[in-house]
Symmetry: C2
Subunit: 211 residues, 2 copies
């Protein structure tokens, strides 16, 4: 039985989507963000970063949203959410997952928490503005790929990268130009969002209308 | 025959270390950063991000430094730079690689290129100062793990995450407090830097004394 420490709409969303997609038994454990529960000493024993999510899988305690998605896909190869080891497709999955987590995700986090990115309060609006521009650019790269070689990031077949992308697209609805207006991203997001498992997760987290 | 598009000291360092460690045939292709060669239309056909590195592996053209490291390790399982599929150790490798590439790497990039993170030039020093603080914090998390459960990120055995870490430690020598002063990081970096393959890469790239 997996346990996922989560908070609605947080970086736990992608692992939650994947757990539902896999159809495996799991339990959700709410981390009370309103009381800063992710910084509680008890929680930080599992996750020294003090971030959400954390996955418990038997003796394994795992954090980092993209790592959890990849691990879950590896544990359940029958679901075909990750290409076979050593294949070119698997390399492409690594590539897109890295780009999503090391470029678009931090840019969006900087848009949401610009105060962490400057030591001077009066600089916050300009940090936020730059983060918004970079976020838009990142989504344009993804959209180009999805339009020319989609509908999914690996082409014809969905992978965990698409579930991760859906999470970022959902976060990005607060940008002045939503990435869901881009045709390739819209098509991919709509396909993933329509999957029954994702719909269950959306209802459970109370996410309301998506992107 | 692999081809690695690189520039000395850039994010191509970690894949270069791994190629040398594997002892496989490869050729280096210099991207002329001084002339902004990473933005040349020819280069961007291979890498639409316009970033360094890019790996060519037969028909596969791959970018994202961490993805290249993981892919190379997958292609050469005999080198034991990545734990077996589905194992807890492999999940931990994903976790640390994600944290290094989505937190410490962007924080260091923001330290080096703070102008990309604000729309107002006068805000640059404060962005750089905050990026330096966050970079230090990220290395402290890594140091804690390496001191308590090292010498490598996965414990007794080196993995591609350690080669990736060495690259970040090398970059971080420009921080006012170098992470190489932290005992756990120092021990891991020294062990990886002493490997003959890494030493060859260091000489080839002309990196001089490390961190």
């Amino acid at each position: 039985m997996y346990e996922l420490f989560y908070y609605p709409g947080n970086a736990s969303m992608a692992p939650h989507f994947v757990l539902e997609e896999l159809g495996v038994p799991f339990e959700l454990r709410l981390v009370d963000r309103k009381r800063n529960g992710q910084k509680d000493p008890e929680y930080m024993k599992r996750n020294p970063l003090g971030r959400i999510p954390t996955l418990v899988d038997g003796d394994l305690v795992l954090f980092e949203s993209a790592a959890i998605c990849l691990h879950l896909a590896d544990r359940h190869p029958e679901a075909n959410l990750v290409p076979v080891l050593g294949s070119d497709d698997r390399a492409h999955l690594y590539k897109w997952l890295m780009f999503l987590t090391n470029t678009i995700q931090p840019d969006l986090m900087e848009f949401f928490y610009p105060d962490r990115h400057t030591t001077r309060a009066e600089g916050i609006p300009a940090v936020r503005a730059a983060a918004e521009q970079r976020s838009q650019s990142g989504f344009v790269v993804i959209d180009d790929v999805l339009r020319s070689a989609g509908p999914y990031l690996l082409g014809e077949r969905p992978s965990v990268a698409d579930f991760f992308l859906l999470m970022l697209v959902q976060w990005a609805q607060d940008l002045s130009e939503r990435p869901s207006r881009l045709a390739g991203i819209r098509r991919c997001a709509d396909l993933i969002a329509a999957r029954p498992g994702v719909q269950r997760a959306v209802v459970t987290e109370g996410l309301g209308p998506l992107y």
